[in-house]
Structures are given as C-alpha cells and as structure tokens.
C-alpha cells in the first residue's frame, strides 16, 4: 500500500456518507502514517511526499500533525527496539536503572540508535502492565519483573541474536 491512500471504504465502515471528501482525507491521515510506519519502521521522507500527493494535502500539514505524536519517527530505527517503561509504577520500582544500563551497554541516549544499528532505545509512559514493574518491551514483546540478571540476559541475547542474524 506504500504511500497511496489506504482503503477509504474499509476505514469508513461507519460515517459512510456523512463526511465531506476533505474530512475523509484528513481523518485517515494518522492511520495512513501508522501504516507507513508499520511497513518501514519509521516515516521515510519520500513516502510522506507521496502521501501528501495522494491525500492532496500540503506536506507541511502532514509533518505538522505527524510531529505532534510521539509514536512517529522520522529517522530509521535499529534492528531491535527496546522500549523501557518509565511510567510511575515502573519509575518507583527502578526504571531509571534499567534505562541507565541500556545507555551504558549500547553507548546511546534515549531516542538514539546504536552505531551498528542493532538497537534503538526508547521510553514509554506506561505499557499497562504495571503489575510487573519494572517493565520493558523488546520488539513489542512485553517483559516484566526485571531483575538485574534478567536484564543482563536480555541485553546479551539482543547482542548475540543481532550478530548472528546480520552474518
């Protein structure tokens, strides 16, 4: 579906007739961005340009909306994505230390990708799994009840898997 308008009819299963064409195009924007990001892991500039054409919407408008939302990324992300929950429940149970450990092990700051492209470190407000705080997600898999050993295990498995897959 790269870059073209997503299937409007399936997106407007309701509000089939009530909206103007412009409202329909505008309303699908965030969904379209999500689809692009799903495919490319970030929002490539050329894709956004194509989207701008197919939605008949100025590129600046698209950027203005996309930059508002934290979930959209404009730079390529790493092969693995570790997302540390820094929500309240995780914060009071030591999420800070988890972030520190990732920073140290991969030599990056939050939001950055390691030099070899193996990992992007992100943080999130809460993944809704607070009962197991502190929590991280690695490539969308939720891992809770992190102890020091568990975390070390995860980090080395990220490193090992990454070298084996890039060989």
């Amino acid at each position: 579906m790269s870059g073209c308008i997503p299937d409007m009819d399936s997106y407007y299963r309701i509000f089939e007739y009530e909206l103007t064409d412009e409202q329909r195009r505008r309303g699908v924007l965030i969904y379209a961005l999500q689809q692009i990001q799903k495919e490319h892991n970030y929002l490539p500039a050329d894709q956004l340009a194509r989207l701008s054409e197919s939605l008949n919407m100025p590129l600046s408008e698209i950027y203005s909306t996309a930059t508002f939302y934290k979930h959209f990324y404009f730079k390529p992300r790493g092969r693995n994505i570790a997302c540390v929950c820094t929500g309240t429940a995780c914060h009071v149970r030591g999420a800070g230390k988890v972030v520190e450990k990732f920073k140290k092990e991969f030599g990056i700051q939050e939001g950055q990708t390691s030099e070899d492209g193996s990992l992007t470190l992100e943080t999130v407000g809460c993944v809704g799994c607070c009962g197991l705080a502190p929590v991280i997600t690695v490539n969308e898999e939720v891992i809770g009840d992190l102890s020091d050993e568990k975390l070390s295990g995860i980090i080395s498995s990220i490193k090992d898997n990454d070298t084996s897959s890039s060989d």
């Binding site: 299963r13 309701i14 509000f15 009530e18 909206l19 409202q23 505008r26 309303g27 699908v28 924007l29 965030i30 969904y31 961005l33 999500q34 203005s64 909306t65 508002f68 939302y69 934290k70 979930h71 959209f72 929950c85 820094t86 929500g87 309240t88 429940a89 995780c90 914060h91 009071v92 149970r93 999130v124 407000g125 809460c126 993944v127 809704g128 799994c129 607070c130 009962g131 197991l132 705080a133 929590v135 969308e140 898999e141 939720v142 891992i143 809770g144 009840d145």
Partner: protein, 778 residues
Amino acid sequence: MEKLKSIDDFKRLKKELSEKIFRKDTPRAHVCCGTACAASGSHGVANALEDAARDKGLDITLIRTGCQGMCQQGPNIKLEPAGYYYQRARPDQAREIIESSIKGNSSYRRGLYRDDILSEPVESMDDLPFYKKQLRIALRNNDVIDPSDISQYIVMGGYGALRKAFEYMKPEDVLDEIDRADLRGRGGAGFPAGKKWKHTRAAKGLKVVVANGDEGDPGAFMDRAIMEGDPHSLLEGMLLCAYAIGARYGLIYVRHEYPLAVKNLKHAIRTAESLGLLGENIFSTNFSFGVDIREGAGAFACGESTALIASIEGERGFPRPRPPRLSEQGGGVWGYATNLNNIETYACVAPIIENGSKWFRSIGTETSPGTKVFAITGKVKNTGLVEVPMGITLREIIFDIGGGIIGDKQFKAVQTGGPSGGCIPAQHLDSPVDFDSLAKLGSIMGSGGMVVLDEDTCMVDVARYFLSFTQSESCGKCPPCRIGTYQMLQILERITSGEGRHGDIETLISLGKKIQEGSLCGLGQSAPNPVLSTIKYFRQEFEEHIYDNYCRSNACKNMGVFAINPAECVSCGLCKDACAYNAVVETRKGYYIDRAYCVKCKACHTACPVGAVKIRRQSVSRLEDQFRIPAEDIEILARRARMILKDVVRSKPIKVVTCKKDCKVADAVTIMDGNNVGSILVFDDTKQLAGIFTERDIMHCFAKNISFVDVPIGSVMTPQPITLDASTDIGVAVNVMSEKKIRHLPVTENEEIIGMISYRDIVSYLLPEVIFMAEDIY
C-alpha cells in the same frame, strides 16, 4: 451463528448456549492470558494444561481469560467448578494440576496462594485476602470468559440488559435509570453520566457515542483490562447509551500501546455484527448503531475530550476551547453532537440497566455510588487490578487487599489520580476513597491508578517525575502550561540535584497557582497538583533538600555527606572497587571515604552489600565532627524535634471556644474570660468558620471606643482567619505566625477544627525538647 432477527431469537440462542457452555459437569480451567500473565508465560501454561488433559483422556474446557487481577502472582489459573485458584503456575506443573484437581478431588497445594511460607495455603479465589473485599461490576466477566467468544459473554448474562431495554424500556427510561443511578464518570472528573447523556440527547442532528480508551495515566490499566478481557461489556454499554440518546455511530479511541485491546475489540465488533447486535436495524427495529475503532499515536493530551476529538479528525491533538461542548451540535466529532465517556463508565451501564439504579445506589457511598476499579502498583506486595465499593478506606486497599508494603518497609504515601492527582500521606490512610473525599485531601480519584510509595521513595523526586511527565506531554498551546511547567521542572531538577535555593518552594507554589489558572485544558490545570500536594504534606523533605542538602530516602544524587560506619563494615572492599574517583581509602583500621574526592555519585552506597555506607545530612555530620557525638544519637534527637501541630494539640487539653456572629462583643469577652482563653472562634449560621476574635481585638475595640454592649462580634472580628492542617510542622506554624503577625491559630483536620494553638503553646511545648536536646549534647 445466524443473525438474530428478534428478541425471541436472542432468547432462544441464549437458552441453547446455556446448555452447552459452562456446564457444571465439565471441568474448566480459566487461565489468565492478560498482558502481565502472558508476559509471565501463561500461554505456555495453557497449552501444557491442554496437552496434559488430552494425554489423560480427560474432557476439560480451557478458557483463556483477560486479566484476573492479581498480575504480580501470575500466571493465574482458576479451576471450576472446584474453585481452586493457582498462582505462578508453570508448564511443568500442568500434569500434576490435572492429576490432582481434575482427575482426583484435591487441590494442588504447591500452586496455591500463601501469605508466607508458614501459613496455610488458601484454596479458592474468594477466600484470598486480595479478592475478599472486592466486588466486581465493571470487571464482572474478566476472570471468567474468553474475550474472543461472544457465546460465553451471552451465557454470563451479556446483552441481557440490551434485551431488557428493547423489550421493556423506552430510550428515556434507560436514560432515567442511568441518571437515577448517579453513575459518575470513571475517567477522571466524576461528572454524572446521566447529565451528559441528557445534554447529548437534547442536541440536534446526528449523534455519536465515543469511548475514551486512551488511558494515558501511567500506572493505570483498568481500561486496558476491560477492552482486552471483556470487550462486549464495553460494546453493550455503548449500545445502551446510543439507544438512550439516539446515536447512530460509535467510536472507540484506543491508545497506541494497546495492540491486544485493538485486536480483541475488532474481533468483538465483527462477531456482534454477525449476530446482528451491531449494525443496521438491530433486532429488526429501526435502531441502527455501527461501531469502529480509532488508534492513537502516543500523546497524553489526546485523553482530554476535545483533543481526542481533534485526533479522531486527523488533526494534531490540541484541546479546543469550550463552548461548544462536545454534547452540542458543532462540538463533537466532525461537528456532530458527541457523548464521550470512559471505558469503565460504559462497562458499568449494562449491570445498572439489568439490576436497576436502586441496586447500584445501594453500593458505595451516597455521593459516589457503585464500585471503582483501581490499579494498585508500586511498593506494595500484591500489585494488580482490584474493584471495590466506593467508600472503602485507603488502608483496606493497600494493606488488606494489597498485602502491605514490600519488605515490610514503612508506608510513606499513595499517589492517586496520576499526573493530575496528588500524594496522600500516612495520616490520611483511614479516609474513605470516593470522588469527594480524595478531592478534599488535595488529590483526585482520576482514572484509578494508585501508586504506593515507601520510605525509600523521595517525595521531591516523585514531584519532579510527574512534572517531567506533564511537561513533555503538554501540547504546547497555552504558554502557562508549556513554559510554566518547564520552569517548575527546572527548579525541581535543581532541588533534586542538590542545588536548591532559598525561596524555591515559594516560587513553585506561586508558579503552580498561575499554571492552574491560566491553562485551557485539564492537563495544564492539574499539572501542578502532584507538586503542590507533595509540598503540602512533605514540605520538610523539600526543605531538607534545599537547606540541608539532604535526601532522607537516599534517592537523589549529589546530596548529603558520605561516610562508612565502621561498626557495620565487613571490609569486603566492594565500595573501593565501585568508586571511580578513588574516594574510598583503605587503611589498616578499615575503610573510610575521603570527602575531598567524593562526588556523591552513590556508587559505593549501591555497591555495599551490608548497607555500611551511610549518607548523612551535613548538619549532623558537622556535629559529629565537632563534638564526637555518634550520628545515630543526633538523628534520634532531630526526629524528636520534628513534630507536627497534631502533637501539640494532643499534648494538652485544648478548649475551642466559639460563638455566633450576632453575639455581642461583651458576651464574647465574658465567655473568653470565663474559659480563660485568649481567642474565640466566630461561626456563621451555616456553622462555617467566619472569623476569629482575640485579646488584640479587644484592645482595638477599646481604643476605637466601640460599644461592647451593642456591637455584634461579626462586625469587629478578623474575618477568614488563617488555619493550618494538623499535619503541618511546628516550624512552619511558627513561621506563618510570625510572618502574618498572629498569635492564635485554629488547627484543622479533614477541614474540621480540632483545636486552637497559641504562640505560647508552641513555645512551651518545644521548651522541654529544646532543653533536653541541649542537655544531651553538651
């Protein structure tokens, strides 16, 4: 399944299903596959149970449910009809569980819950302390049904309220029932749902029902549990709302972080459509209602109702000024009148219609009927989701249900209401939990997040944490919110890194007030709450950081003076290895820290296995150096001097002398004289405190030649006297009194006056302590 064309079709289907599903003679295993349990491996356990049963040739029904509540102890399994409840189940236990509980007739003891290793295990879910006090309305099906199976929902009574409404009730009746039930919004502010529905119903044009599943409050996951574990209860609530207000469409806005919720909701919508419970001409009536999902993209501000609307329309999630309200034409999605409620609010609707508003009002408190789901997290033993009747005390939730604090540490505070709420200290543990009581304590109910904090949590750091959250989530539209939170955050960051300045607390308070007043939406208006409430209850910790460079929880870096206590040190040398600045010195007598090199990074503190590295406040360590008094002794004394007004009130029999506003001055003076007090409190007709009249005022009256006999006290008293909460520090009270030049101070607790304190009381109360301290030191 075929499309249902009439109510009779529905009844027939329900009867058929009831004969097949949840039969008493087939054993069932309800395995929790909520997010937390799934992360702890519950799918593996479920598969293993299935395999084990098959190997044994047993016929069991395996049900993968949503979150059952006790997430920390997961994966959880409930075996029915025996009722056994297993925790921390592992796939390798599956065989034994099946063997004992399905084939045999006894519980599998190793999987049961115990308070501690010595106590007897608890067999059934209802007897667990965690579940005993719960009452489940919104979460009624969460521990029972498979969310992907609409049949199970129907057998549990699902869509029965919809049937009842169609069969016996007009839309107005449904609306009235909700109004009478006084169902208050579970998403934050507690606005009555009935009122909102009425507004929307009265609007012209097409109407829309929106469910707010943004759940941005970190530490709350009740909406997630409902959307994932019982999606049809949300759909049924929305259907009833649509029926009541005459809406045509429904939208569920789900936050981006909840992919499983989206999946389960989508599936639920499809199956409800295929049964004809959603879509065109439901039950062959002319009522049609279509529902779809919209996903967020990570913005806390989008939980705010107008911002959420903007986000659905594909705009940036900027809140919009009201009016027009959402419920009016022109205010909602694409201008259509919109009723927006929280997920949990909708989940409560069907049971109310089913059982009536009277039943609902019989639960909970007068002003907050029903139950509320809370997510208890943080430093508490049993974290998870609980649903309790409103009016239960914080203590019951945290200690009886939550099992108390991990490692039996000291409870310090509970944070409720997330970034819009506040911290409630130990002295209010016995206050009831409902919308109004929490607001009175300076916090809010919010969406129901409860983060428990213990003695190791630094309150200044908590305040900083919340502000960094709201600061980064502010949409940026209003300058007070965008810039004000930034300024507050900078101050708090300074304080937590040991660079607090004189006057910081006052600046924080005044900035906070300005942000509250000058912001457009709830985010800005409530952003300072966590800071203001922590200052209110934990001002001393702020002062320690600023004036004493000390963090009593040892959470902040760059604070205090580091020292090794030789009595505890086992000379392992780990601290020396940990210190990157060579500040730990090894001598023949043991280890010590050279303060000239120490940068207070806390590496040694973290490294020490026996806790021998101490972080002391500067003043204490100075005394220690100068007078060679052991630091421990000084700390005990310091604690003794750290008293609150409640201690003073308790220490002496205190008379609070009062009179009415129309009482003559002469009479008031006689009362004062008779009681031998220096002040009298004046109340108005509504029994509210109106003013104070003191010895000083007698002097003023005399000087101004006011007639004591004719003039009522109301016209000469000092109106709106300053009062202080009983939890206030004595030091603060002294400051306030000398700054405001007052000598008499009414002390309040929960807004009620519990005593009068004069300047003299405080001095005479402190005196023995002061003398005692002085004697002990010199």
